[in-house]
């Protein structure tokens, strides 16, 4: 990218860095210690450095990087209000996530047309999904966590980029059978883990990738009908699904028990008003699971609904940009890869924000790049890396075309 084109995007990174400087600076005033001033300098410095240095090392899209740094920084800022140690962990997870992004982007560039990799990754992914069923730890009703020594992670998060890669590789070669088999096995294993939110996400993404690859509306209609039938069946056979729907319809009926999470979330969002209660004021820790699933409620409480709408707009811009990358891709595989990754991020954000705002029944998924959780952060960055890899290939192809056009004149 030319220096002339890169400069405005660095300006956006500067704006993001200034926002976090002000945010952390304000919190440092509240705490009044020297240590509390460190994040006010460190995080903006990291954002500026990443936006300047990373694109020099690797052909990354600066705009995507700036948008994601805004979302990640926002998560760290909200976590810092209630528990600085969580914010520190989240910063470390962001660092690992950045490395994962570079790895997945490089992987796309190096092994973009090897369907053999899809098979290897698919088998690895299924093995990972099997582990929680056998040795998993139950948390919030789902047996989807795995403890290996001091390390605790969610395999279903790691398998997300694998699912996108495998489906894109197989669908681009019109290999229907492995595609169907892999998607069905993933869904089955997630159902066995009782991780219904992630299962819903996997199903939606697989169906949309399938539709994009085939271009057939009947496939989409059949998938939606199948999904609808499965949802009705689940409602009648699983008590917790029925309870989720009842909470969604009327959370106030049992607001001290089943509906407590949603009611607290709605109260927090309402108390924030248009401009929020003020950073560091209010009671974000009164929202249950405010660090992960309900972090959007905490953001709205602290910064207000206008800012909440801005966060939603940032997600919309992220998806739009990724869709542009997918549309400009030269190969079907790359297009499906970028669009599948964008769909994962977008649908996940929609599921949890919609749930928190009581637009749809609540499902336990994290808000990409914002919620606390190392696995979720690394997985989201991996998906971003897939998009970045395709974008860099697109840019190279366009430069190649310009070169060929010069040869032809």
């Amino acid at each position: 990218m030319s220096r002339k084109r890169a400069a405005p995007k660095r300006g956006l990174s500067g704006l993001v860095a200034l926002f976090f400087f002000l945010g952390f600076g304000l919190l440092a005033l509240k705490r009044g210690t020297l240590e509390s001033a460190v994040p006010a300098l460190a995080l903006p410095a990291v954002i500026l450095l990443a936006s300047w240095l990373l694109p020099l090392l690797f052909p990354l899209d600066r705009l995507l990087l700036s948008l994601v740094s805004f979302l990640s920084g926002l998560g760290i800022l909200v976590l810092y209000i209630t528990d600085p140690s969580l914010a520190l962990h989240q910063m470390a997870a962001c660092g690992v996530g950045l490395a994962a992004m570079l790895c997945s982007a490089s992987f796309v560039r190096l092994h973009s047309r090897r369907s053999g990799w899809a098979m290897i990754l698919g088998v690895l992914g299924l093995t990972l999904l099997c582990l929680p069923v056998l040795f998993g730890k139950e948390m919030y009703g789902a047996r989807n966590w795995l403890d290996i020594g001091a390390l605790s992670f969610q395999p279903s998060e790691i398998v997300k980029p694998v699912l996108v890669f495998c489906l894109a590789a197989w669908m681009s070669e019109r290999r229907i059978l492995p595609c169907l088999l892999f998607s069905a096995l993933c869904l089955l294993l997630l159902m066995l883990q009782k991780d219904l939110g992630t299962a819903l996400l996997y199903f939606a993404v697989a169906l949309l990738i399938w539709w994009m690859a085939s271009g057939s509306l009947s496939v989409l209609a059949a998938g939606l009908l199948g999904g609808g039938a499965a949802a009705v069946w689940g409602y009648h056979h699983f008590a917790h699904v029925r309870r989720r729907v009842e909470i969604w319809i009327d959370p106030w009926k049992d607001y001290q028990n089943a509906g407590y999470q949603l009611v607290q979330s709605l109260v927090a969002i309402a108390s924030g008003g248009l401009f929020g209660v003020g950073l560091g004021l209010g009671a974000p820790d009164s929202i249950p699971i405010h660090t992960s699933d309900f972090i959007f409620s905490a953001v709205c409480e602290q910064f207000g609904l206008i800012f909440g709408a801005c966060v939603l707009s940032v997600y919309a811009l992220l998806i739009w940009r990724s869709a542009s990358v997918a549309r400009a891709a030269r190969y079907r595989f790359h297009g499906l890869l970028a669009m599948g990754s964008a769909l994962f991020l977008g649908l996940q954000a929609f599921l949890i924000i919609g749930g928190v705002l009581k637009l749809i029944p609540l499902t336990g998924v994290t808000l990409p790049f914002v919620s606390y959780g190392g696995t979720s952060m690394v997985s989201s960055f991996c998906l971003l890396g897939l998009i970045q890899g395709v974008e860099s290939l697109n840019r190279e192809a366009l430069d190649g075309d310009a070169h060929l056009a010069m040869l032809g004149t």
Binding site: P8, L26, A28, L29, G32, F275, L279, F303, I306, L398
Partner: protein
Amino acid sequence: MPYVSAELYEVISLAMRYVFAFFGVLIVLRAFRLMLADRRANRSRLRKLPDAGTVGELMVLRGSSELPENTCLPVGREGVLGSVRGCDLFVPCPGVRRSHLDFIWEDGRGLLLLPRRGCGAAVNGAVLDSRSDPRQFPLCHGGILAVGDAVLRLHVFTGLQTAPQGTDNPMPESVFFPEAGDVCQAAFPPAAAQPVPQVQHPAQGSPWVSPQEMPVPPEQLPSPSSPGIPEAYAPASSGRVRRSDRWKEDWSE
């Protein structure tokens, strides 16, 4: 750090709410403007490169009333050839199915064709079906593709390399500016196997002809007796459709 009382902090924090909301809106607007600017820049760049994303074009040697002869169809790096408008290569001719075959460009080899199940095609006379290995029969510069009743000829843009017909290895650098006889030829039996006009480097002295502008001499067209190629045909006119007109006529949808 200076000590700030709780009351003072509350006042500052309440005031800063508006600053944060302003920053939020500013970041979104800035990102939106950058995205639009990028979009505009990309569009203007693509306007200057009308052939971006394509590797060449398939010239119709024999088509139908909907697909006149000498029409050129831009060929992307990957796509589907079929008789519906949604296909990347729209060939509305009898015998061509809705989605007839998939094609993919492989650098150093050529255009690989994968007919769908129950569909067939002929590359330079060699008949392909869904079980054929497409790498054995790459369509190279000047190669003839027969699909249904349509007969098309591939012109690869300058700078892209293809392998000679029948070889499994990528072609050497000499293909880029080939010596006589190096160019991939249509594999029609001796009478029709005329050498394709060569692409020459400007440095070689002789006037350089881009593949897009190469004329198609009638004697170079495949003979009616060629295996896999239907009845004899002759182009309606010797002149090529202009690139600008072509876009309007064939790709207006």
